[in-house]
């Protein structure tokens, strides 16, 4: 009897250990996927670290772009940016057009964002300080360190903190120049040059996404 009970005990142990391991893995994967710090400075530090791992990996540009897109989706207020960059025009278009714009903008944003980042293989960024400018916004100041080819670049991250538990990036201010504002003015220029026709903007976005 004793001889027969031993394997059962061992199997039970194995099952329990396997479940525990699986549980730990699931928890850690979940935490890695969603648990960014609620402190804006740490939040940016974590994003930079995550992006650095992707950029310095030996993966292809396509895989890097996909990984960076995942980070961006979790940490950037893409929908807010979509509305902001469309300006007042968002009030003039119908819900179907707005939905189409949101979809196109997300694809455009991710392609443009990852394309800018994948040019860097091993960026060295120092997170310098953070400044709470209002109850909704904190500016996190960072510095992209100079290399033998490129000068140092000041990058300020405008972090939206209305929900303190889930900060989101709303703008990048590179050497004092707002990328969100630039994007907004670019879209406005396309619209104003084409009788405010939203379809021309759709076409321009589609061309960029497909090129």
């Amino acid at each position: 009897m004793g001889r027969n009970r031993q394997p059962v005990k061992l199997n039970m142990k194995r099952i329990i250990v396997s479940f525990l391991l699986l549980f730990i893995i699931i928890i850690s994967v979940k935490q890695n996927a969603f648990a960014y710090s609620s402190d804006p400075k740490k939040f940016i530090e974590e994003i930079i670290e995550e992006a650095k791992v992707v950029l310095s990996s030996g993966s292809s540009q396509d895989i890097k772009a996909k990984e960076l897109s995942k980070i961006a989706i979790k940490t950037v207020d893409v929908q807010g940016l979509a509305y902001y960059t469309l300006g007042k025009k968002r009030k003039e278009i119908n819900p179907e057009e707005l939905e189409k714009y949101e979809n196109l903008f997300e694809k455009y944003f991710l392609k443009s964002f990852t394309s800018r980042l994948t040019d860097y293989s091993d960026p060295k960024i120092d997170v310098l300080s953070s400044e709470t400018v209002s109850d909704k916004y904190t500016i996190v100041k960072t510095m992209l360190l100079k290399t033998s080819k490129k000068p140092e670049v000041k990058i300020d991250w405008r972090v939206y903190t209305k929900n303190p538990e889930k900060p989101l990036i709303r703008d990048l201010i590179v050497e004092g120049l707002s990328l969100a504002r630039t994007q907004k003015e670019e879209f406005a220029s396309i619209l104003s040059a084409n009788n405010n026709d939203i379809n021309v903007l759709f076409e321009a976005l589609e061309n960029f996404i497909n090129k």
Partner: protein, 261 residues
Amino acid sequence: MSKRLKLIFSVLAISIAIYAPQLSAAEKYTANECFERFSRATLKFNQGLDKAIFKPIAKGYRALPVPIRSGTSNFVNNLRSLLTFSNNVLQGDFRGASNTAGRFAINTTVGILGFFDPAAKMGFEKKGREDFGQTLGVWGADTGCYFVLPIFGPTTTRDAFGLVGNVFIDPFYQLTHNTETDIVIGNDNLSEHNYYYYRGTDAVDFRSKNIESLESIEKNSIDFYASIKSLYLQDRSQKISNSPISDKSQDDSEWEEIDNQ
């Protein structure tokens, strides 16, 4: 008073006369177009010129060893600080002027004609450049309209005036072009072409530091002209106010609207 000095004072007097009524004008990020079709064509022309001439030169310059590039950059920045000094004074920024003068004196002597920057280590902080367009902005001049000049690139009515004004208030230009100062201080070697060598080197140095950033803007823009316009106007605005956008209380009314939607 020499003819040149008379001309300088005339330019200043005209500038003040033109702009004084608008002293309270707030600095803007936007500007109307003067002649957009012409500006778009000029930008394309400039891009072609850049691709054929300036970018290859900048790439060649970048192939030089870092100490040479760094020394050259320091040297032209040191000469350029003379124009900054004039504008510091015209803007009434005497603290800035003393910092600029201190940096120039130390870097020209201890820093061996400006090739090194010991002043930064001695507490004389390296600050941004000032030009006459910025000075007009500080005096309250309105931006005017936006256009693109061949070779010189994006500008506004105010900055185009500034471009002309810069020549007259740049001490290095005066040293190299004014025959009277040649006699007074005996600067036989400072002939006119030295000024253009310095300006050309400064432009190449600037271009070499921005090869990737310009490529990235070009690659990721759906309207390159509009991107350049926006970046130029933002840059000028922050240079005039001497504070980056993120440090100001931004106009968040549009974001507020989105949040409450």
